[in-house]
Amino acid sequence: MSWRTVSGGRIDRSRLVQFRFDGKSYAGHPGDTLVSALLAHGVHLMGRSFKYHRPRGVLAAGSEEPNALVHVDRGGGRETPNLRATQVEIYEGLVATSQNRMPSLRFDVGQAVGLVARFLPAGFYYKTFMWPASFWKKAYEPALRAAAGLGRAPVAADPDRYLRRYAHCETLVVGGGAAGIVAALQAAASGARVMLCDEGAAFGGGLLDERDAMIDGRPAEAWLGWALSELASRPNVTLLARTTAFGWYPDNLIGLAERVTDHLAMPDPKLPRERLWQVRAREVVIATGAHERPLVFPDNDRPGIMLAGAARAYLNRYGVKPGARVVIATACDSAYAAALDLHAAGVMIAAIGDLRTDPRSPGVDAARAAGLPVRTGAAITGSTGGLRVTGALFGTEWVACDCLLMSGGWTPSLHLHSQSRGKLGFDPASGAFLPLETAGQRSIGACAGMFDLADCMPGHAVMGSIAPNGTHAGLVKGAKAKRAFVDFQNDVTARDLLLATQEGFRAIEHVKRYTTTGMATDQGKTSALNALAIVAERLGTTVPEVGLTTFRPPYTPVTFGTIAGASRGALFDPERRAPMHDWAAGRGAVFEDVGTWKRARYFPAPGETMAEAVARECRAVRTQAGIFDASTLGKIEVVGPDAAEFLHRMYTNAWLKLAVGRCRYGLMLSEAGFVMDDGVVGRIAEDRFHVTTTTGGAARVLHHMEDYLQTEFPGLRVWLTSTTEQWAVIAVQGPQARAAIAPYVQGIDLSPSAFPHMSLRIGTICGVPTRLFRVSFTGELGFEINVPAEYGPAVWAVLMESGTLTPYGTEAMHVLRAEKGFVIVGQETDGTVTPDDLGLSGMIAASKRDFVGKRSLRRPDMLAADRKQLVGLLTDDPGIVLEEGAQIVEDPRQPIPMRMIGHVTSSYPSATLGRSIALALVEGGRARIGATLYVPMPGQTIAVRVVAPVFYDPAGDRLND
């Protein structure tokens, strides 16, 4: 037989859409969801439950659905598990499969769990699986893990795109039902920017399910059409369908997830799959409606048992009859609307069992008038059936049916209000928590307890709608708790909740966590109040005394990719490239990530290993000259009459007497006295300094300087400007450095006497203005050529034309400086190292009364004798290169745990010295010079001799050449 009605619904009956579910082909119509299309074929069995693998049909018609979850595969890695079939719109070629069953939905071996269900109460896993201990990891846990989980995660990279958008508006209306549409119309009339979003494919909410309602003299559907065209015609209104307001974040920032293409058979490849909107709204109008509550009675979960409102939605919205012979169990008048609509569609109503002894409402009267068999004071106590319900039990009486509808009344959807920290109050009349007034937002419609359509539409005349009065929460009186499901997806029964309270879990959060009620993918939308009521009754208290669990984002699950947006690959984190990056890339450089920078690590010649390349680069610098892109070093221009005084306070050493044209190595401490940064600072003019910082420390140093300048020393007339990216810095280092640059330099006397080490000059190079520093981080005669960044590549190219310069990378730079014992902040230091630890106590100006970090250096531990100090290490075997990070001990024969007295901070093979070298921090290290220590490694212990941390040209003759 056909389960479609003859007419009606919002589907396009003129067209057929083919889709597959569990391998079988079906046809539906445009406008159908997967559920409505399956119901139209009489298919109710759509899923299996989490724990007992019980067969399940669809319970609801919206995003609160706990049972009908499917896996949709669009091909090419586009797989999505756990989709609620109630929200999957069918399209030509849709392929959906059910989940959590083996081998099929109809026959699932997992159902065997049901046979031992009595031994698997809530929290059973806390009480066993402890013996023998090794079995947990090997046997029990893998078995539990395999049994848990619902769908299968995708295994291939997701090829789809996601985008983020930001928006501001005066009014954001969440929920496009009657209340939301009326609010949006009102707000839009003022000309303010209004956004209206709804999670459904169509606006209208509950209006879409009304058959007989008249609004302002028009049928509800006609009124809805008018209202939506009115809104769409206004330029100040943004309408977002298929868009879920999932989270409320501080200061009225609302996260919306828009599903853009999942409902399309052939999406435009230019479109993102989903879009994250972050909307900052002056006022948020929450019109998110309410969820109908199931009744809790034994076997209330069989396929064919669904919420009465859902059945009405399937009938009126999709033109689908959920059964041929329907029994209704209710405590709420809205179920009568479903009964009347089904009756009008020719469905037989076998019984309406109302829990209330004397229900009075227009709905009840109309049902009686229509001759429907209304029974009052009739408590549903069970159901029969297997893969489909076959009957309902009212006590001892059995009523045959193929569809059982239930309604315990409606629970307002408080999620957004509650996420915003809005307070809640319990309303005994509706048996529900309701939102209390909160600044910056208001709740309207059913989510504020206005369940009657007329109340949702102030200013509009509403006729012909049945107000959903009547409520019930908790276990149906007289029904057993066993197999009376509260949380359908997680298979939590009333009995589990009672057991939890028996075991002392009385806080609702404890009950939730112990039983897992409300923790499934529906997050308790249909179960929370029932669970509360059961716990409250058992504890002899009230629902508000027990209290709600906290609502947390998201309202419904949000795709990771939607939140991540386009942030992937190169867009994951901005990549900073030095001015000569392209040249280096063209030369075949191997790059390393340093902070967000890409730096050339070495320049391998064809066939060269890294070690060979680095050795060649080092030899070139020591014997001829090398060229190095040092542009990533941080640079700060410090300007003003008090600039010298400012540096005097920020660095450990003295600055007041530094002559114009001279440079000084500066050491910067945190206020706690630990080395924070270092760099060369040159005095450009009396009131102007060119400060350099480490590559990774630039932003930190500027922030640190600004902090002191603005808040501790506001009287100083100093201005700071980051100039890191304004200058390209070309280091030319080596005995032939002067000769290499001399032909291109104008206006600067490069002779050693006129331009000594640690000085700077202003002039031009290749006609380009330059700040030329004579400094060295290699121990050789060296220059650092600062030119405006855009000229960097051109100057570099000209210098390279001479053919005498060898490009070298950061690795060779590290080796060269280590040979000289120059430290790298972040490698020799780790935030726990003082100037004295590095042997740099000479950098502390004795004359200075104060500088940042000075006082901390007098703390007891900073003066302790056992502090770790920088030393050099030479392995007895010159061919052995220590591993960086390796630990150092005095006695290698001691048992584990060993007493470690230091570690290797830097270690390299030195081509210059023909042996390995290392720097290390060692307890009392300077007093150990000459001693032998040990580096225990797996399989061998390496003996090392402690030496001074300068391996090459200790007198510094080459620098001053």
Partner: protein, 416 residues
Amino acid sequence: MKFSLRTLLTQGLAGHSGWPEQWRSPEPKAAYDVIIVGGGGHGLATAYYLAAEHRVRNVAVLEKGWLGGGNTGRNTTIIRSNYLWDESAAIYEHALKLWEGLSRELNYNVMYSARGVMMLAHTVHDAQVFKRHVHANRLNGIDNEWLTPEEAKDFCPPLNIGTDVRYPIVGAALQRRGGTARHDAVAWGYARGASALGVDIIQNCEVIGIDRDAAGAVTGVETTRGRIGAGKVGVVAAGHTSVLMGMAGVRMPLESYPLQALVSEPVKPVFPCVVMSNTIHAYISQSDKGELVIGAGTDAYTSYSQAGGLHIAEHTLDAICEMFPMFRRMRMLRSWGGIVDVTPDRSPIIGLTPVPGLFVNCGWGTGGFKATPGSGHVFAATIAQGRPHPIAAPFTLERFRTGRLIDEAAAAAVAH
């Protein structure tokens, strides 16, 4: 009643009517020898070990809400001990050894799962730092090994070790004994164990004052359920420590920040271990229930709101999607925030305070869960004996005066 397969079967046949309360909920007595303020994992563990190992049983645990409702129930349950400094390694390893026997010690399955914790290195500097950890751990007897990218992928097949990402993986440090545990069960198991030994567990009891005698020593606490006398008071209140210590006039080097985390919808087993990347801020594992458990960062500002900005989750999911592009279609099911109390050196404070009789255990920052058994164990000894347990001794409040910090954050210093 002892938990076992046999009792589970017996009770199953008997309709489960015989399971007793897992812990008693008595009215508070007028006074106790020791009051523990804070019914999270650390506080409950402290009470348990006081009773179990020091025979101090006239003990109450006061919890302002419900047991385990703070960071215990809000973290990503990562357990590891491969810390750099000897002091840190000692306390976290002490904890890890206790984790290994905890289910049986408590007769409560806390589901400690040694599935391995892998920390990813993305730069040369990361590799240097992690190798330093590996070497130090090895000589301290703590398992931690260096893996090549290929070895890392063997251990965790979903890992993308290609170079088509912004920060390719250059290697990883793996602690195989690291893993996860079931966070709620830790609180409940300790509560049950402590209660059975005579400890009173009192929920919905907020401390609103600390009473002191003329000499300044602690005499008890004022609570929302009245005054309760005590010879010793141990504050184990994580994010709320500053507020409580302020009641005794003690200022603390602490700031409380929101820390966010989230889980995906449950799926069948797909992720075998714990993966952490400090460089790109991604922390992920899969719970026994099937949810991907993802740690996000802290918000920038101090707060007690247990909520934070969406941009924090964004940043984390950026990183997860970049490293595991197959998870882009997975969906965030639930997100939440905790309040973490952070010290200047990112190491905890355990021990005596300037107020006689007042003890404090705090400052665990973002990493307190893994320490739970060890923290409770050494804090119980410290309270019982009135002097620091040797493992707790370096973690005094005094270190901020002397400068003998234990800086684990510095140990992972930013690149040069």
